[in-house]
């Protein structure tokens, strides 16, 4: 996979290059700001671009650059990195695109295996959401018993959390050691209990529906 990086922290940028090379990927560009990355992506063949959210141009150069890249080169996958697990950044990321895009924490993705897995999923067209953030979204706010989330069983909450991470049915089944059929049954139950539209055949539409619902439930209670 051909990868381009924009990260203004030199030490972390060098670490990313080493991790990518260890994972067998080719780093075709490595810069410290969004404008330089856009120049690389415009002129070079890139499969996935990795962007720090907080980099020049300030304040959130990663987000503005990702939007420019998606508009100019929609086939390029985008992985946005941050030190903050913010639903604010998540929603901004999803406004840029709902396919071939990811948002992860820097320290969590700083490993060969997890970085390779994240890039593979993005290149395959998936949305990849930081598990820490997905977990927080799924947590029942203030343990409220009147929250629709309180109606879900523990296993259904696990399925919801993995859906919010952008996992496919097969990946959820593998994670929970159950069959895909069982996962489908849990998903149907979750959607019914939360009042979400049942027809979510497109994977990215399902992830968006789940994240939008969870985000709204956090705000409105």
């Amino acid at each position: 996979m051909k990868v381009a990086i924009a990260e203004d922290g030199a030490l972390f940028r060098e670490g990313l290059v080493l991790l990518l090379e260890a994972a067998g990927h080719e780093v075709v560009g490595c810069v410290g700001d969004g404008d330089s990355l856009f120049g690389i992506v415009s002129t070079t063949d890139v499969d996935v671009a990795i962007l720090d959210i907080r980099m020049p141009p300030e304040p959130d150069g990663g987000l503005t650059t990702a939007a420019r890249i998606r508009a100019a080169k929609p086939d390029v996958g985008l992985l946005l990195l941050s030190h903050y697990a913010e639903t604010h950044y998540l929603m901004k990321t999803l406004e840029i695109g709902a396919e071939r895009i990811g948002y992860r924490l820097k320290e969590r993705v700083a490993g060969v295996q997890v970085l390779a897995d994240t890039l593979d999923r993005i290149a395959a067209g998936e949305i990849v959401i930081e598990p820490v953030l997905a977990k927080r979204l799924v947590q029942n706010p203030s343990e409220r018993t009147d929250s629709p989330l309180a109606k879900l069983t523990e296993r259904e909450l696990d399925v919801l959390r993995l859906m919010a991470e952008g996992r496919s049915n097969a990946a959820i089944a593998k994670e929970l050691f159950v069959s895909v059929k069982v996962v489908e049954k849990h998903i149907a139950s979750v959607f019914a209990k939360l009042g979400l539209p049942a027809d979510q055949t497109m994977h990215h539409r399902r992830v968006l529906a789940v994240l939008t619902y969870l985000r709204a439930s956090k705000i409105d209670g």
Binding site: A22, R54, G111, V112, I219
Partner: protein
Amino acid sequence: MPGYALVFSAREGRLPRLLRVPTSETTTFRYELERRLHDEVAVGMSAIAAQLDLVAVASADPDLDDKIGSVRATLCRVVEHVRDVGKSVFPPVLGGTDFSAALTAIADHRDVKLQLDLPSYELHAQARARVGLLVCDHLNTLSPGTVVRVRVRGRRLVRVRITENPDHVEHKGRARVARP
């Protein structure tokens, strides 16, 4: 001209409590402090996490792998603490232009239910930062699940009114922030 700000808050049956909105200088200091925590501490620790993983990958010793895995997990927890401190010093979302989304995100972290009533016009960056810090500092004192209404009005002088649990009128606040 340096701005000044006052917050009057009162509980039922008590005299108003005086709180202060951060000055422009304090706001700048807190912003720079958070940037240093982010750029120098957190990013540096993430780089160390990456280096540790590379050592583990290069090693053929499963025991060493386990030890490195344990150290990386500890490192991630420490980064989490640094992140929490950074967010309290200056929430990074306040640096953006979407003030409503920023305040909502701050409330989100505290598990506080926020009802926002913002002006239709955009506040200038300094006012956004100062009012944002005022609201953030106040939300940090509240229990999870609290419902808070924040009303912001004014152009030259920005007035902020914070009401806790509006249905029960348990707590009210009002602030005035002079434009710098």
